[in-house]
């Protein structure tokens, strides 16, 4: 069993895709000789050449749009939007083109396009560079939105995404690249799309998160366990399609649920989770489903303010405690 970083996991599945499938090419800003803003594609140009590692102009719309076109014409592009913040400049191509062409064409064209991008706060990069828009994309029919939080989920989910024929937003987290985890032991390990991971099992409360917040929830569960509170920890892993079954079943068992989300609270994706839980497990709930989320502000640069704006392990533990103890 070997331990790898999240960054290595991303690199490895990209290399695998390039090695296995001639139709795969990468395209994005500074992914060439620079090696990618997060050093994921270092050495790729040397190995695969410029044909397959396309350092693109700084132009998000055409990066995605050209990916859509190439996918329509039979290739399987993996494009990179340097961070999800810049994805707003490509949102029209993602939402009005990638997500809709199949349906609008009466099913004639599929768009097997993977859009990799990077979400998250906590890197002290200020309001315009610290956002988490994956929940917005998860509201768009036609898209698949995946948010791996561990190296093995990166690998397992990416492989599953490659088997899809529709556009995927593959959302990595800026603070996770350096984190470590076990590499999957099986060579063809897959994580199914739309299957949540129950990270930990407990009877008192359900903690649910995705991306880095799944890890935060798990750490909070560790603290709570020392106090005798046993939490189910659910990592959604995929936002669309959503594994509400696992989530709802957990809540039916624990009767209490706390959703942990990094983006600002109002209108975040956690609202969807709360809604589905109370729709499907209403009679099981002993307390309202609670949410811990980012502060309702543009992300401040100043370090202590930023730390206060992001859900912390302690804040999650405190909210869980309150939910279980009723105070």
């Amino acid at each position: 069993m070997s331990v790898i970083t999240y960054r290595e996991a991303v690199s490895s599945v990209l290399r695998e895709a390039l090695d296995e499938d001639e139709r795969v090419f990468l395209m994005g800003e500074d992914i060439g000789p620079y090696g990618g803003a997060f050093a994921v594609t270092q050495g790729f140009t040397e190995k695969y050449g410029k044909k397959r590692i396309k350092d693109s102009p700084l132009a998000e719309s055409v990066i995605v749009g050209a990916g859509v076109g190439a996918a329509m014409a039979g290739l399987r592009p993996v494009v990179e939007l340097m961070t999800i913040n810049f994805s707003l400049l490509a949102m029209d191509q993602i939402v009005n083109h990638a997500a809709k062409i199949r349906y609008m064409s009466g099913g004639q064209f599929s768009i097997p396009l993977i859009i990799r991008t990077v979400t998250g706060a906590g890197a002290s990069v200020g309001a315009t560079h610290s956002q988490s828009f994956e929940g917005m994309y998860a509201s768009i029919p036609g898209l698949t939105v995946v948010t791996p939080a561990t190296p093995s989920d990166v690998i397992g989910l990416f492989r599953s995404c490659r088997e899809l024929n529709d556009p995927v937003l593959f959302v990595e987290h800026i603070l996770l690249y350096g984190t470590r985890g076990e590499a999957p032991s099986v060579g063809d390990y897959r994580v199914p799309i739309g299957k949540a991971d129950v990270r930990r099992s407990g009877k008192d409360i359900t903690l649910c998160g995705y991306s880095r917040m799944a890890n935060v929830a798990e750490q909070a569960a560790g603290i709570l366990a020392q106090e005798g509170i046993e939490a189910d920890v659910i990592d959604l892993r995929t936002l669309r399609p959503l594994d509400s079954e696992t989530l709802v079943n957990s809540v039916k068992k624990t009767h209490r649920a706390l959703m942990v989300e990094e983006t600002t609270r109002i209108g975040g994706f956690a609202g969807e989770l709360v809604s589905q839980i109370q729709e499907d497990a209403f009679d099981y709930l002993d307390a309202p489903v609670a949410r811990v989320a980012g502060a309702e502000v543009p992300m401040p640069y100043s370090y202590p303010l930023e730390m206060a704006a992001i859900p912390s392990v302690d804040a999650v533990a405190a909210a869980a405690r309150k939910l279980v103890n009723g105070s």
């Binding site: 102009p57 990916g67 076109g69 329509m72 083109h97 064409s105």
Partner: protein, 336 residues
């Protein structure tokens, strides 16, 4: 203007074929307007009247395996590519037999069989997609060209710039073809583009080959496009073509177009590509009144058949609503 001798490769049949396509487009659009008035076509309807020489002149130079991408004003290109007038009309009516199964509508015609990669309704968006298709051609080492239509209004959009730049720097086999009809929706391009009167020169910013052509002269369009296709196919990289033309109707059926000066409208009516070509065919001694009558009658018949087909075709099944969102799984929330 060209002479018959300038186009020795075109037979009488070819030339009358062009005439027929142009005429078909015109009559098809007239019928769509009637159907719109009768409520059989809904939403937006952007007709192609006056611009027929572009689609017919350009598209007939393509090979079957070349690609076409266009905007929401797409009926003309679809018909010129050989899409059946029945399937197009049915699509405009939202019927299951439409070329996009009624899901796309007038602005979103598609045919994978014809490499007709779609009409797109977000102004400028399709240029990026066209660049991507061209990238796929280049990547595979093939020699197709991608022909991408858009309007002068689209030139304002950021995506125009991004797509032109990408195609230029990567030498992609795409022809960006601007149907310069002087207006966006109601805004004159004189008021939105400094270079409106030499629009093709904007491509100099990308070091791209660029051409202007009389978009109301089907043979000029064809002639130019044949040369450009050959260059692009040979790997010389992208090209930008601006065809000067005019839409003889409003932006959409809802638009009375009274913002247009009378003399401008009159001038362009005098340039109507269909009578122009008909006169040319007559003057060059290629076709007679009888030829035209025969074609016109067959066009009228085709259009009637298309309309009847559309009207008598079934609506999509209710269950179709949820069909086709994903290739690999059912959509969410299908009512049970």
């Amino acid at each position: 203007m060209l002479k018959a001798a300038d186009v020795p490769d075109l037979t009488k049949d070819d030339l009358l074929g062009f005439y027929r396509q142009m005429k078909l487009i015109r009559e098809f659009e007239r019928e769509s307007e009637r159907q719109y008035t009768r409520g059989n076509i809904k939403g937006f309807l952007h007709v192609y009247n006056g611009e027929e020489a572009i689609a017919v002149g350009a598209i007939n130079t393509l090979r079957e395996d070349d690609y076409i991408v266009t905007h929401y004003r797409d009926h003309g290109q679809a018909l010129a590519r050989g899409m059946g007038s029945k399937e197009v009309m049915a699509e405009l009516m939202g019927k299951a037999t439409g070329c996009s199964n009624g899901k796309g509508g007038s602005m979103h015609l598609f045919s994978s069989d014809l490499n007709f990669m779609g009409g797109y309704a977000i102004v400028g968006g399709q240029l990026c997609i066209a660049a991507g298709i061209a990238l796929a051609v280049q990547y595979r080492g093939d020699d197709q060209v991608v022909l991408c239509f858009f309007g002068d209004g689209a030139v304002n959009e950021g995506e125009f710039h991004e797509a032109m730049n990408l195609a230029a720097i990567w030498n992609l086999p795409v022809i960006f073809f601007c149907e310069h009809n002087l207006y966006g929706m109601g805004a004159s391009s004189k008021e939105t583009l400094v270079m409106w009167d030499s629009l093709h020169e904007m491509a100099a910013a990308y070091g791209m080959d660029r051409y202007e052509v009389d978009g109301n002269d089907v043979l000029e369009v064809r002639d130019l496009m044949q040369r450009i296709n050959a260059d692009v196919r040979a790997g010389k990289g992208p090209a930008f073509v601006v065809a000067r033309t005019y839409r003889l109707r409003g932006h959409s059926v809802a638009d009375p177009a009274d913002y247009r000066p009378d003399d401008e409208v009159q001038y362009w009516e005098s340039q109507d590509p269909i009578p122009r070509f008909r006169d040319w065919l007559t003057e060059e001694g290629i076709a007679t009144v009888e030829d035209f009558d025969e074609i016109d009658a067959s066009v009228d018949e085709e259009v009637v058949i298309a309309a009847e087909f559309g009207e008598s075709s079934p609506w999509p099944e209710p269950a179709d609503l949820y069909d086709g969102v994903y290739t690999d799984r059912p959509t969410e929330g299908i009512p049970t």
